[in-house]
């Protein structure tokens, strides 16, 4: 007969925390799996009382969502963790931040408020900033206009099942150019769709509509991630938790 672990099942999740963290500097080259490993080890070093799944290979309760691609920096990565003992979110943030390598910085930590829905559903758009060394803002501006004027821009995307054609235009909510001579900056808000339209795909779309080919590797930073509001902006995804938390202030907390 197959062995079962002795003793009682692991303690249940009593609190969920939602965190925003960064991927800065050289660590932009970390993949989502690299980040997951780093985070799990940091949680152990920081002695955060994680809740675990049952069975012989228990896993800490961590939900990863919407990871930025390898090579892209981010100011707005999100993760939700389940704890087996209640903790002060700010103390967890500080302890975890101290345990993570520089560049992976935990900026916010809030308690998930009940009844406000899942975090993943609030992450339906990203505001990217893409630095294009060797490109002039005018040139980029014209390319952006051409992109926005197009109905459909098909680009080929590499997926694990081979190349696949996707419409990059449909996911672009807004786009604008700024910067100075030789250092254009593309600001683009992209809707979360499946498969994901990434900065590379937007640049491929600009190449397709306006023959824009940056001479140097572009550098993308995810500046914000969250719910797309009516104005096409990205709203703070932790807002609902924060509001619910402040309403509860002073009330006794359930244990």
């Amino acid at each position: 007969m197959a062995r079962q672990p002795d003793g009682p099942p692991p303690p249940p999740t009593v609190q969920k925390l939602r965190l925003r963290y960064t991927k800065r500097g050289p660590l932009r080259f970390a993949s989502h799996r690299d980040l997951a490993r780093a985070l799990e080890r940091a949680l152990r070093r920081a002695q955060v009382p994680m809740a675990f799944s049952a069975g012989f290979s228990p896993h800490p309760k961590i939900s990863y969502m919407g990871a930025a691609p390898t090579g892209a920096a981010s100011e707005a990565e999100y993760v939700e963790i389940g704890l087996a003992a209640r903790c002060d979110p700010e103390a967890v943030r500080v302890a975890l931040d101290a345990s993570l390598p520089p560049g992976i910085d935990v900026l916010e930590c809030v308690e998930a408020a009940e009844g406000t829905g899942g975090l993943a559903e609030r992450l339906d758009g990203t505001r990217w900033r893409i630095d294009l060394a060797g490109v002039d803002p005018d040139e980029l501006g014209r390319a952006v206009e051409a992109l926005l004027a197009a109905e459909v821009v098909t680009v080929s995307k590499r997926t694990k099942n081979g190349p696949r054609d996707i419409d990059a235009r449909a996911a672009v909510v807004s786009a604008a150019a700024s910067g100075e001579t030789g250092r254009a900056i593309l600001h683009v808000v992209v809707r979360q769709v499946t498969p994901t339209v990434r900065p590379d795909d937007v640049l491929a779309a600009l190449a397709a509509v306006a023959d824009l080919h940056p001479p140097l590797p572009p550098r993308a930073v995810r500046e914000a991630q969250g719910r797309l509001d009516d104005s096409g902006e990205v709203a703070d995804p932790l807002g609902p938790d924060r509001e619910a938390g402040s309403r509860c202030q002073g009330e006794p907390q359930p244990v």
């Binding site: 080259f29 980040l35 490993r37 070093r45 920081a46 290979s57 907390q253």
Partner: protein
Amino acid sequence: MTVESLYPRLEPLLAQVQKPIQYVGGELNAQTKPWDAVAVHWALMYPDAYEVGLPNQGLMILYEVLNERTDALAERTYAVWPDLAGLMRANGVGQFTLENHRPVHDFDFLGVSFATELGYTNLLDALDLAGIPLHAVDRDERHPVVVAGGHAAFNPEPVSDFVDCAVLGDGEQVVGDMTDVHSAWTAAGRPGGRTELLARLSRVEGVYVPQFYAVTYQADGTIAAFVPTRDDVPTTISKRTVMDLDEWPYPKQPLVPLAESVHERMSVEIFRGCTRGCRFCQAGMITRPVRERTITGIGSMVDAGLKATGYEEVGLLSLSSADHSEIGQLAKELADRYEGTNTGLSLPSTRVDAFNVTLANELSRNGRRSGLTFAPEGGSERIRRVINKTVSKEDLVRTVTTAYANGWRQVKLYFMCGLPTETDEDVLEIAELAVEVIRAGREAAGNKDIRCTVSIGGFVPKPHTPFQWASQASAETIDHRLRVLRDAINADRRIGRSIGLRYHDGKPGVIEGLLSRGDRRVGRVIERVWRDGGHFDGWSEHFSYDRWATAAAEELAPFGVDLAWYTTRERGEHEVLPWDHLESGLDKEWLWDDWQEALNEDEVADCRWTPCYDCGVCPTMGTEIQIGPTGRSLIPLAVVGAGPRPDVRAQVDVDVDAAVADPVHTH
């Protein structure tokens, strides 16, 4: 002198390569020191991919030992994959270290750890990328002193053209001595230039400087003589031995990579050396005597390491971990200490012994029992007597069956083929054994949900072992034996489907054999292979047997020798071997006698429990076996994962059970 970071020029290239994270550094517990604050700069290299090299214990130990010195710094570098190497060459970016992306070219020492000879072409790749002349004699004071270490350095002759020094034995103390020599030479105004520096280094015990020795050959291709070309260098070079492992509790802060590596765990070396006397095993021969870390020393390293890394698993490392004199108590007390913390404890492959199942049960008492690995090495009882790793077939089957009965579902068995005196029958017994193991195992487990994986590789005779004189089996022989084994395992599908067979074909072993027992003439083959595009020879997708065979045929022909001469040729008792001047402490006569006893199928018992069998190491090296038990035990301790830290816990919620689990100490 200030050294500039190569990172700004490297960064644009990283966007274009696979797994760029391996090139950016920033690992947990990586150390950075200001360049100008120290006198001596070491670049430490593991000559394989980052994912293989990063977990290497030897490199981590030396990294910490050197960085603890106030007058030295050490940074790490690994082999660069061809995609990035090509871009680096095109853009003039040199081999760099990970900590500060400093050019390897600018360091005082480049220390390279060779666990296997298949890293030699990667050494040449790194030297070339670093802009360091390939040949030691072409280097000057601007270039680092290139040092080879690791087990393969016990015969560095094949790479003697490319390295300035080879270091024999334990590295902990010798790196300090070399640092002292370098800084004294610098402080004195670098008298006599590079040659004088190397001469001074050659007088450090354990350091061999090949360019100060000349080799002559006889008409039949064997070595005639090996003579120093200076009168101030030693005629033989002795290995270094660290005697008290508790005094060297390294690594204290193991490196934790962001990238995935081949060992996703931390390791604690519980003892060094082995006197079991397995005749094929170079590691067991060259690392004598046995030196145990004490149970309390191990306990504090496990504790400190887990706190420093956040790893979920600890491997208790050594050449034969179940042989530690306190292993039973250690397993129990560690399992007690980490109960309920989701911390895994594991042993590497062990000898076939029922006690080892008990140990593994104890270590996995709170966790999954997925796989257990045993290393019988030889297929038949006869061949196991030849290699001096005696275990009867009945004991083997009983041990493996016990494992299945205790809930282990997967047992892996390591074997070698091509051992001296081996016939097809010896290898076919592996199939019989596996079939019997599955039959008995299904009965013991009460179900068919068990597997046995037979992992088998070709034997490569190594220097400083009783088999150093043996004829290596040809690739054809190995491939033939693997074929008959596979057919035998598959003969009965009802059983065979529970048996997995993992094997490597015989060709890479032939090249490993050439490099293992090669002499200085083999250097030309290595260089030729590298010039023809060879590197990452430990990776089947990069290894090319044809490239090696062609290079060997053409480069060795002028010397009247060939690949077979180095591999399948049996050596005579009085032949001068290329490593005879490199002293592992083993008496050559004892090795020869042990070789003869192997051919007679005679066993030798372990000298830890029976009288000394005069291998020669202890008297030659002035060392002795150091084993317990110490009688000490592990005290209960607040451990990682036992509960939240006081400063993380919410103040609103103090329930009694959780409070009891809190660590007693505060931060």
